[in-house]
Symmetry: none
Subunit: 241 residues, 2 copies
């Protein structure tokens, strides 16, 4: 895949220095697409000072409201996290992530999603993503600086590309992982059917839907597969009436 | 070799934030021995703030005058550099460095030497070292932040040690991939529902079922997931009658 198709998504960042340092780290490793989701600080002098010349990345940043919007056009969204979760999400280490990206098609779009300085990503944000990546750390002192975590992942990815320029065969677009917005459309459809069939408790759809999300996001559904799954749902709905 | 036998040596650092950030990066990766050679700034509030709790590393730092003193007790000194030198020094990449360190004897002492923020190491300082390590970067924007460079090398070294055998927690049997017989039971159930809903052509169920098999087999369904998927099918069936 292409490095320019990878976006670094920073969610709810509170310190402008971290945004500037992230831009520098990205530029060092040939990444250029920075997306801020609901930033909690101005992007001014402090950010530009820490960017140390990577101004174009800050100038061209995208700003979104909510993570879903930021990853809507992405075929793969990977959440970073230090904490283990109550519902564990499929997990890669940084090298496995780099290997996965290098094997992707050139048209694939990828988001690497980083959470807030003190509290990381919310469970519902992680559950928008296909997978998690965890940087191995000292278990007694596991919280990396936000920009340092970005540096480590950008380094792994650049380094892996740099190692091996590999030709990849061009698959049919319908056999590539679908963008997040289409996958979310399927989840809405599924939830609606499961509510109307009485399988989901309308007051507590959560746990079952979370497990279904984990299953289907892990599978990286293609467009063809989403068409089949939604076709099934539509056929079942029609039959009822 | 032992991680505690590796010292991070910072030469002529001018920004206390970089020293604090280096301490944090070291602590994240289980390194603890910090040596400052002729630091050009006070190690006070700014450094401790950026250390973010890695205070012990700052408290126990060693301060030396001149690089020779700092590396006097080391069996291996490795200089970091972004620039190519007029007299090329033997050069490793970060993974080669990590491999080299892991193969060293437990008693070996190692210094990783980092230069000044703007000018790096002097030629005569590099020439006190056994080897150089270069972090691969964007040739158009190659200068990493000092603490970021320390983060990347500490990460590679820790990660390489950590790769060695680790105890892994035993997952619940219901969260492991289910045996094939249970997955096949799900496929039969699914096919029957899709036939009765009219979604599958009874004469040619093949192509759609093959694609569904590929999707679910790729996902390596767990027992818990099969229970949810079959529960959904049963709820939908009941609703019809």
């Amino acid at each position: 895949m292409k490095l320019q198709n990878i976006k670094i998504v920073m969610v709810g960042t509170t310190h402008p220095g971290n945004i500037g340092a992230a831009a520098r780290a990205m530029n060092n490793m040939c990444l250029s697409h920075l997306t801020l989701v609901d930033p909690q600080c101005p992007i001014g002098e402090t950010a530009y000072a820490r960017a140390s010349g990577a101004n174009a990345i800050l100038d061209n940043r995208e700003t979104c409201s909510g993570l879903a919007q930021a990853i809507a056009d992405c075929n793969l969204a990977v959440a970073t996290s230090a904490r283990r979760r109550s519902l564990p999400w499929p997990e890669l280490n940084p090298q496995e992530l780099a290997d996965k990206l290098i094997s992707m098609d050139d048209s694939g779009r990828v988001a690497l999603v980083f959470g807030r300085e003190h509290s990381g990503l919310l469970n519902e944000e992680i559950q928008l993503c296909n997978q998690m990546v965890c940087i191995p750390t000292n278990p007694e002192f596991s919280s990396l600086n936000l920009a340092s975590a970005i540096q480590v992942l950008c380094y792994e990815i650049f380094n892996r590309q740099y190692d091996a320029p590999l030709p990849v065969k061009e698959p049919d677009a319908h056999d590539l992982p679908a963008p997040s917005s289409e996958v979310e459309g399927y989840f809405e459809h599924l939830q609606q059917i499961l509510l109307s069939s009485g399988y989901l408790d309308p007051d507590q759809p959560g746990m079952i839907m979370q497990r279904l999300r984990r299953l289907y996001l892990r599978s990286e559904l293609t467009r063809n597969e989403i068409n089949i799954l939604r076709g099934m749902l539509t056929a079942i709905e029609k039959q009822k009436h």
